[in-house]
Symmetry: C2
Subunit: 252 residues, 2 copies
Amino acid sequence: MQHPQESDLYPATGRFLLGRGRSALSDSQKRALEDAVCSVENRNHGERIISTGEECKVSTLLIEGFMARTLDTHGGRCAVSFHVPGDFVDLHCFALSRLDHNIDCVGPVKIGFVSHDALRDIVASDPSMARKLWYSTLLDAAIHREWIMKLEQLTTPRRLAHIFAEIWARLDMVGLGRSDGFDTPLTQSDLADMSGSSKIHVNRAIGKLRGEGIAEFRRGRAYVEDRAALHRYCDFDPGYLYGNEHPPLQRG
Amino acid sequence: MQHPQESDLYPATGRFLLGRGRSALSDSQKRALEDAVCSVENRNHGERIISTGEECKVSTLLIEGFMARTLDTHGGRCAVSFHVPGDFVDLHCFALSRLDHNIDCVGPVKIGFVSHDALRDIVASDPSMARKLWYSTLLDAAIHREWIMKLEQLTTPRRLAHIFAEIWARLDMVGLGRSDGFDTPLTQSDLADMSGSSKIHVNRAIGKLRGEGIAEFRRGRAYVEDRAALHRYCDFDPGYLYGNEHPPLQRG
DNA sequence: CGAAAATTTGACGACTCTCAAGTCGAGTGG
DNA sequence: CCACTCGACTTGAGAGTCGTCAAATTTTCG
């Protein structure tokens, strides 16, 4: 399930929508998108690609590594989403012009920039491609909604379990998950920013997950013995990710 | 600032994007959208317009009244967004096909349905209108992000203050705010679903807001003496709403 | 090795949940 | 008009979750 042919043919965009209907893109659409990438760059941990309020004329496709969407607050840091390879991270600003948040690197990343002029050409000449791009931004919105649910309903240990389950599922979709977990550069401090808890409480929550055999997290590596148990623990249903294998959504 | 001419000329869609760049729509675009509304209906409190997982061929524009986006959870109810007149509530499903959430009425509402076939025609013939529709769905995403921030960073009293500030600001944009507050059919129980707190805690938090002179909330009516104080109390910056008066976003 | 970052532990207080009980308001039938 | 009823709202008490201050330990990396 590694789709090596996609990454070879489309080195920058081969993971875009992978696991989520990428196969519905025609070869010419894939080619048009790949050709729209005007530069590929490497960035380091902690670098900010776009800042709140900035006008932008290019959008960023995450090729390798991880990024986070953050909001500035007078208090501390605040992460509102997390991104894996294949995500068109700030396609939002194509329609919004300026962003209401920052885009930060988590660990070293490789990113591709796509100019909005090129996107305008694609969208104007291919309404179906416009729908696909629109769709990909709405996936972010769906993930936002699930995060809201998670924050409203779950305690910190279960929030962390949910974060693990989601990242693992999303990495699986683009062929980067392990069979027994996944690898990220996330620290406990990052998890605190993502779960709305203090670093210290996150540390204890991770200990609890380990103690209960739900998940083990050490130095960015997550290990899970019983995936179904992890999902049960945090009421995780991957339907909201709109992956190929989970068409219907129903829970109760 | 009531824009009576818009509501007269476009009874169903006159509030769409009002206060957020509606003036950038041409008369023919406004007319095309208004003509795309194939039926207008009244619904009652608590009715569910769309359920999780349902395939949909029409989208819903909220003309009068209020609606909420909710997720099913095994525990209790969970609201992930709240909508005011002018919102194209489930335009998301035009690009997503099926929704990951429910759309529920809060109080009596008047809604207009727009078929996806009609939307496809509009989008295909007018790329700039496609951008505007896309834009309106991304506003929802921006609001989702702010809710995530709110849930991660604020205590229950401040979350409620933030909810009040947001609803008031959004009602102002479409000409429905009062000078000293706003009116909704929201109950304390609804606020609990929106803030991720228990009904009982919400009740106490409302009491605290009243005691501190931040806001008064009784039977769906909110009264605020000092709007700036309300905003300070919950770190509210309307920039994320992308309203006409707040182009730049910057906080710290 | 030494400095900086990440992780861990303990203690205490604040925030929030749940169970339980009681009050208030609008609408209904007598 | 009044008793009744249902939902919304209010209040009290005890327990669990979580934040903060402080300090110790481990890991990473130059």
